[in-house]
């Protein structure tokens, strides 16, 4: 179990204030709340994309608040996926490995096979369907075996049939890889089928943040 402590971030409408947030290891924790309640700000702070001071999060023996974003070894799938449009599927998935100077790409290729995107390896993201793009984003997020995975509304842009399939696939992959995950979703079905722990957030505060 990793614990986020004393996280405070000033926002224009309200302040994000998290005294303690317990994140069980190798499990999926879901964070639910209305739009603008601070969910994405929390993820961005944990990723190191927002400036907050005085907080702590010890993960695998490392004090994450002291580590620069690029060395935190975290994976993320944003709502808009943010695939690099000028890179092929393969280049997108291998990008984190390239950044780490890792020569062994076998795990990434295996993952692409598993997620059913290896046939599109030479395609650009714009040539893929919504579901395919979503799987590429997931492959990229997992290709370097991150210590923690963030999923910010990962299925919101998919139709209901594709969403169902993607959800099943994600569940299998997360169970196999046993990766600690924080999921943000509006969809009750996402939360019910994927998460083992559920917290709710409102106006920047999480009242019950222990499992």
């Amino acid at each position: 179990m990793s614990v986020v402590k004393n996280l405070k971030l000033k926002r224009s409408q309200f302040d994000l204030e998290v005294e303690e947030l317990h994140l069980p290891e190798e499990q999926v924790t879901a964070l639910v709340g209305p739009s603008g309640s601070g969910k994405s700000s929390l993820i961005r702070t944990l990723l190191g994309l927002e400036n907050a001071t005085g907080w702590s999060w010890v993960l695998k023996g490392k004090e994450m608040s002291m580590v620069p974003t690029e060395h935190r070894n975290l994976g993320v799938v944003f709502q808009s996926l943010e695939l690099f449009p000028h890179m092929t599927v393969l280049e997108n998935v291998e990008f984190p490995l390239k950044c780490r100077g890792q020569k062994d790409r076998s795990f990434a290729h295996e993952l692409m096979e598993r997620l059913g995107v290896s046939n599109f390896r030479k395609n650009l993201p714009i040539e893929l369907s919504g579901g395919e793009r979503q799987r590429v984003a997931l492959a990229r997020a997992l290709s370097f075996r991150p210590d923690f995975l963030f999923l910010d509304e990962p299925f919101s842009s998919l139709d209901s049939a594709t969403k169902e399939k993607s959800r099943e696939l994600l569940k299998e992959v997360l169970q196999d890889f046993k990766i600690s995950t924080l999921l943000i979703s509006h969809d009750k079905e996402d939360v019910q089928s994927l998460a083992t722990t559920v917290y709710s957030i409102n106006r920047g505060k999480i009242p019950q943040a222990k499992p």
Partner: protein, 492 residues
């Protein structure tokens, strides 16, 4: 019946804007087209100047972009944006004076290709910076953040994400600045000296010194076609909207010290002139010859002519805009305005000067018309076209509800568009105050304030020229602010 008038009016406007081409074609047979061995040379020299200016503008734009990334609030963004767009809004005369003051301060000659390129780059660098910033904000910033999460270092983020993503902005902006600099007239005319730095200046010299209309028209057609191709390329490439109001404060702005970069263009293109004005003011205050000059009949005449041109340009621009809007948004009018490229300044100027009508009042009228033809399509596209398009649904609703053409115009379109129309008309009128290129075709001698300033510069009276221009500039600025306040009170 109403539809008939509307269509007729649109066609009339199109004919009006096309008339310079017709006039130029009428003049062309007066000289034989004599293409000598080095006829490509002026094209090459003009293209070289435009390409070098565009490359330097991209570099300057890249540096200026840092000041936008240092903004931490919408307020500071608006300030920096105004500073960056400033050089595009002031008439070239003032820019030329500042560059001349800078070169005098450095002890260098103010003429040559280097000054033309530097001035063009500083004038257009702000446009590039704003387009780069808009794309960075809309797309690249998020991709860069994701790359950072995945472990990409700063150089990797720059070379693997930022630069490939920015290609789609840098290429259209290169094309845009290239087109602007290729057709540039006033700046190469004065700062280029006798050297061939712009095709437009070459066309001007061909007509003025050799009367070679056919050759001038030949180059003008090539230039127009070239710019048309560049416009179509730009339309295909679809760059970012430089004038976009949207702004998302960056989560990690650059240190505030980078805000200082934004004053670079203003410093070179206005600052040195202001400094020289401050110095000259103390000297000229005790110079009776200068005050005698200000009270002379010639000077008074030039002030009257400039004021008349200012008023006429304002109203011609306003009526042209009203006419286009009243004519209704048809695919033809819109497509025409989007693709319209004014013929060369020189060809247009000389063509209109050959129309019947002698005397100074005719010169005032022709200058105002010529200036309006040259600036109207650009200003209308910049400020009014998208607003006009945005109102098309309201017009349809009004039409369905039974509103006639007049009601749709006066009750729906005009109240929502008049502010933008008056603003663009005022900008054109202010530009005309500092214009010396267009008016030189119609007036013999220094009969407007701007022409008088250029005449003083040619007589090496930089300090007199500088002070008179400053007064002109101050009047223009005052008019702009009074007008803005007036518009605000009307809005309230």
């Amino acid at each position: 019946m109403s539809l008939f008038f509307q269509k007729g009016f649109s066609s009339l406007l199109v004919l009006l804007l096309l008339s310079p081409y017709v006039l130029a074609l009428v003049q062309a047979p007066k000289g034989d087209l004599n293409l000598e061995g080095r006829w490509m040379w002026p094209l090459w020299m003009g293209a070289r100047q435009a390409a070098l200016s565009a490359v330097l503008a991209l570099v300057v734009g890249g540096i200026l972009f840092l000041s936008l990334r240092a903004c931490s609030s919408y307020k500071s963004f608006r300030w920096v944006r105004s500073l960056l767009l400033w050089p595009n809004l002031i008439p070239p005369l003032f820019v030329i004076l500042s560059v001349m003051s800078l070169s005098q301060w450095l002890g260098w000659s103010h003429q040559g290709l280097m000054w033309v390129i530097l001035t063009h780059a500083l004038m257009n660098g702000g446009l590039v910076a704003l387009a780069v910033f808009a794309h960075d904000q809309n797309q690249v910033q998020k991709l860069s953040e994701v790359a950072r999460v995945y472990g990409a270092s700063v150089p990797r983020r720059f070379f693997d994400i930022w630069l490939p993503q920015m290609k789609s902005v840098l290429i259209p902006n290169f094309v845009l600045v290239f087109a602007i600099c290729l057709t540039s007239f006033s700046i190469p005319l004065v700062l280029g000296g006798g050297s061939l730095t712009s095709l437009e200046v070459h066309i001007f010299q061909l007509i003025r010194t050799e009367g070679a209309w056919s050759l001038a028209l030949f180059y003008s057609v090539i230039q127009t076609l070239f710019v048309l191709v560049l416009s179509l390329t730009l339309w295909k490439l679809k760059g970012e909207d430089t004038f976009s109001e949207s702004y998302i404060p960056p989560s990690r702005p650059l240190p505030a010290v980078f805000l200082g970069v934004s004053i670079l263009p203003i410093l070179v293109l206005s600052g040195f002139w202001f400094l020289s004005v401050a110095k000259d003011f103390t000297i000229l205050f005790y110079d009776p010859a200068f005050f005698d000059f200000l009270q002379s009949k010639d000077f008074l005449e030039s002030v009257i002519h400039s004021s008349l041109i200012f008023i006429l340009v304002f109203w011609i621009q306003t009526f042209l805009s009203m006419g286009v809007i009243w004519g209704g948004r048809t695919g033809f009018t819109e497509g025409f305005l989007k693709g319209y490229v004014s013929p060369s300044v020189a060809v247009l100027g000389f063509s209109l000067s050959l129309l019947p009508g002698e005397g100074e009042l005719w010169a005032v009228l022709k200058t105002s018309l010529c200036f309006s033809f040259l600036t109207f399509p650009l200003l209308f596209k910049w400020k009014n076209l998208s607003r006009w398009k945005g109102l098309s649904h309201q017009v349809t609703v009004a039409k369905v509800m039974g509103a006639g053409g007049g009601t749709r115009f006066w009750d729906v379109l005009w109240p929502q568009m008049r502010e933008g129309i008056f603003q663009t008309s005022l900008i054109a009128a202010l530009w005309s105050l500092g214009d010396f290129a267009v008016s030189s075709f119609f007036f013999s001698g220094s009969k407007t304030v701007a022409l008088m300033v250029v005449d003083l510069l040619n007589k090496y009276r930089l300090e007199w020229a500088s002070l008179i221009s400053f007064a002109l500039f101050a009047v223009g600025l005052l008019l702009f602010f009074v007008f803005q306040k007036g518009l605000e009170s009307v809005r309230r």
